[in-house]
Symmetry: D2
Subunit: 335 residues, 4 copies
């Protein structure tokens, strides 16, 4: 197959990170355009990455017949609109999560994607992490038998700003959404019910912004398995990303990575290295590998392994968690 | 202090295990009597452990003025009655868990214990385990700061018989009760609310016996921290006993023990040793060390660190879990 | 079989430790006598462990027809003499290492043992350690194929006194002797050549006492495999006891034990627990299990798995190391 | 500083690997020329990496005034000649190890480098590995005090072809040379004496090619510390690369990396992931990071941290090992 000519919409922190990654996949992609309404770095990006065109307005990318695919990493509230327009323009779509906070809006995106017969991949990059991918493969290979428990721990090293919190959609929609996708990926089954306890244990700013910073979630899956997620906006020791799955034949655990596999032995004890600081560091390879999947899906003319349905389901679970937290009871999810 | 002269009521599997352990604490205890209505091994126990008297009827132990303390490891439904009689007879009491399934009955025991000013220790042996004791000490030493999350994983290697299940009081009262004590021990705060999902994933016999075999539990503590427990009656890889606690300064984790600290490297991967099979193996030292605490409490004339209140609280949480499972909602606990 | 009636010769630190261990193997052994020329604790040992007779003079044990076996843990320079007398008295013999520093003297012991057809077990307790036993079993089970490399690390937490050093026989005879036995146990082949570098890196006292405190040793085995030992009299982080073996199909590693399987995560890193402090702590179970082997060997009327030949071989390797250190060259060992 | 314009001499496996790495360091380097007398891929390399000129003859690179630096990854026997010519042409030099098998020839290279005042970095990439770099830093930061023991384990997953062996210079010059550099890097002191045992345990082809496949080496350092290296041409479980250093205050250990930090628990035991297969995989980041150091050294006008002296020392130790193996005795090294 020829290289996929990709246009990137949104050149903020994550957009630039994607540009750098995609530029190293030069056998698969050619970055032909970048659009950002506010960036002051368009010209330097153009020069550094040998990009043909840079634009203020993303519609110029959509109308460029040279563009095969778009990567949408603009602000969340523009995702759905741009995705719909991109689908109409027959562009393959890679979309940062979440598709939207509104379920009906997501369904409109899905409708348009199907109607125009384009691919849509959602940026649940953690599925491509070496640890999580390994245990999912072991589950698929029936190493642990019928699933009984699926557990995910996901904690950030430090809380975001109060400003970020306010526009984030809340803990479940902004942070746990990755874990909702992860439990579905590992359980290979849909979530049918949730129960939530949430708390404010990190700092007052998050509380004042009307959000919680810590949560524990019970889950039930369609296949009968149970699950647990725990989240916290601040873990003093670093970015904590783990999962484990129990089946009737065994268990798989994905531990954290560490900066080095070394130990220091002194009279005080044995000291191992700290964890990678945060997501750009921890999921460096996963961020690149998700674009390999996007390329493969396009070249094989099939749905990406993380597609619009996955984008929808994660938001549905987040909504159910919001309700369970509010109403102090189990909330069921239709699938 | 002189040795504590102890009489043992109940010489079933766990009773004999305790006899062997206590006999090795010969600087602290002298086993002066054993009573069991059904055992056929009383004479051989007498000979092997140099025990003065063996009885069919436990009341002979209670009326023996030579006896300072009793260990009650008879069937659960006799615990409260014997404990009350033992308190009236001014014996120090070591009682296997649970005190009773009925909260009012437990309160009667507590009343009688207080009235007669005797000690009562409950057999929550896991508090004396080297791993859990270590992380509890680190929490107490403020190594991880203010608590945010307390998590316990507790899974048996294989399910008990259907007969056992029927008289067990159910998963929460029989199995999770240890974990309820563990989260209180680690959180150093009372549980104020629970939410439960339960399931039947292990075998049909447990279901037919009217019980669940797998559960996930959300907890909230009086100090604001949140918690999670997961249980399963069968883990193919062995007896899984772990805990972790997150605070605002760090995290402590108690992993499983393994039979040896060895690894086998082959082309297939790296193989570590299996876990200790079950509780008598895993908590061998803890079963001995809980009697050191009993001895210390008596000799220092103070309440044991695991006393009647701990026995009551664990049952209260179990009851709340039963209700949450039934009613699909959060259940609050008064403390 | 009846219990083995054992008499203990030498009631110093290690002697008392053995008495306590053997007393807990009360299905196998009955301690009927203890002899020590200098101990002031004989009467209290007699009372505590219900021992029939205590003596100043060990010959009273040898002439006691009630005694089946003797445990010799007197000073090293008396080992051979007492062992020879014990053999003549037809007692089964458990002997602390080394049998003697003089190879001809060891051969006299062996001759007398064979002539009188008694068992002799040498106290190489580490063979009974859970870690080393596990990897040796894996090697025996052909999990790693034909052996290529055998490595042992053995370091003490702190150096002994200069006085101890002076009468110790030197690093190789006193400390490395355990490792010589361990490499033979793991390699299942005899050592045919050694090369040694030694140094004084710990403190001046050891140097002034005419000994080295640190050594690295190359070994060659009869089966062609190569080996390495490293020793140090002081490791600030504790008692370091590891081994690893490479075969053409894989590798086995025996790591250190730790006081608990816990980790503390903070911003500074991940802290695991310290190692067990020293040998009585680290090899607690092995010290007991070596007596189970002694009992089994007697009851099955066979040579103990660690016998007089093993006692001889370890001393022969120690002698070769002393020569290699002195002459800066490879020293061959006849087998 | 401007980008360093680099010309690459030798486009075999390692040369192409370097080209790909250096192309990703596009803020530091511009690859302006590649020369290889035999490669059939020059044109495709030129196109893929936007390289101005490709040549059959490396002298065209040396005479190109546009070239600031050369990377020499041609066959070993051409290293010294090309390095001397490059120094005369005032090019900065990055040279794959070893500089040469002949010590006098290496000294000629050093003389020319000094005379022309150019930098020379040797490709001991392992110094830039995250694990080894971490423990070296901890040593430098005095976390373990005065050094006592330095140990390196280095084993290949599978032996090279007999043809490769024949022209390799032998185990010490070809394989152990990396470990000689590593022990110097960790010990921060020169090797003053070695003792070697070698063996043929892997396959007959290596023996027939006149080389050994397995070796254990004792080392003594100028600072008094002792050391050990073990090597094997075949480890069935993968590429084994570890180091540990003991000081009087503690110990540091660099373990192997694994493909993922996951564990599979079944009734058979706990299975961790396999090791990275071989050096291009294991040292991927180190191969890139060594060029960052080359760039830094040039831009700061200082000697690279791994320079011509390091190239010389490693070969001197290899020569001493060859002699010790032959003469069965300690061989001293003048520094």
């Amino acid at each position: 197959m020829n290289k996929v000519k990709i246009g990137i919409i949104g050149a903020g922190r994550i957009g630039k990170f994607h540009i750098d990654n995609i530029s190293q996949l030069d056998e698969m992609f050619e970055i032909v355009a970048v659009a950002d309404a506010f960036s002051t770095e368009l010209e330097s990006l153009k020069a550094r990455y040998h990009i043909k065109n840079v634009y203020k307005n993303y519609t110029e990318i959509l109308s460029d017949s040279d563009v095969d695919a778009v990567l949408i990493c603009s602000p969340t509230d523009t995702h759905a609109q741009i995705a719909i327009e991109a689908a109409k323009a027959k562009k393959q779509i890679f979309l940062e999560k979440p598709i939207d906070h509104d379920i009906n809006r997501i369904k409109e995106v899905i409708k348009e994607v199907e109607k125009n017969n384009v691919k849509l991949q959602v940026g649940f990059n953690r599925r491509f992490d070496h640890n999580f991918k390994t245990i999912q493969q072991q589950i698929t290979d029936n190493k642990i038998g019928k699933l009984q428990l699926v557990k995910v721990t996901s904690r950030d090293p430090e809380p975001p700003s109060a400003d970020y919190i306010k526009s984030s959609g809340g803990l479940f929609m902004d942070m746990t959404i990755h874990d909702f996708d992860m439990v579905r990926y590992l359980a290979q089954s849909e979530v049918v019910a949730v129960e939530v306890f949430g708390g404010n244990l990190v700092n007052d700013e998050i509380k004042q912004a009307g959000d919680i910073d810590t949560a524990v979630i019970n889950l039930r899956f369609a296949n009968g398995a149970l699950g647990q997620i725990d989240n916290c906006r601040a873990a003093a020791y670093g970015y904590d990303q783990r999962a484990e799955v129990l089946g009737n034949k065994g268990q798989v655990i994905a531990y954290n990575d560490q900066k080095s596999n070394t130990e220091l032995y002194t009279a005080e004890g044995v000291e191992k290295e700290v964890l990678p600081h945060f997501f750009l560091d921890r999921y460096k390879d996963a961020y690149r590998d998700e674009f390999k999947e996007f390329y493969q899906a396009i070249s094989e003319d099939r749905k990406p392994s993380v597609n619009e349905t996955d984008g929808l389901k994660a938001v549905e679970i987040a909504k159910a968690c919001q309700m369970s937290f509010k109403e102090h009871k189990e909330v069921k999810i239709q699938n």
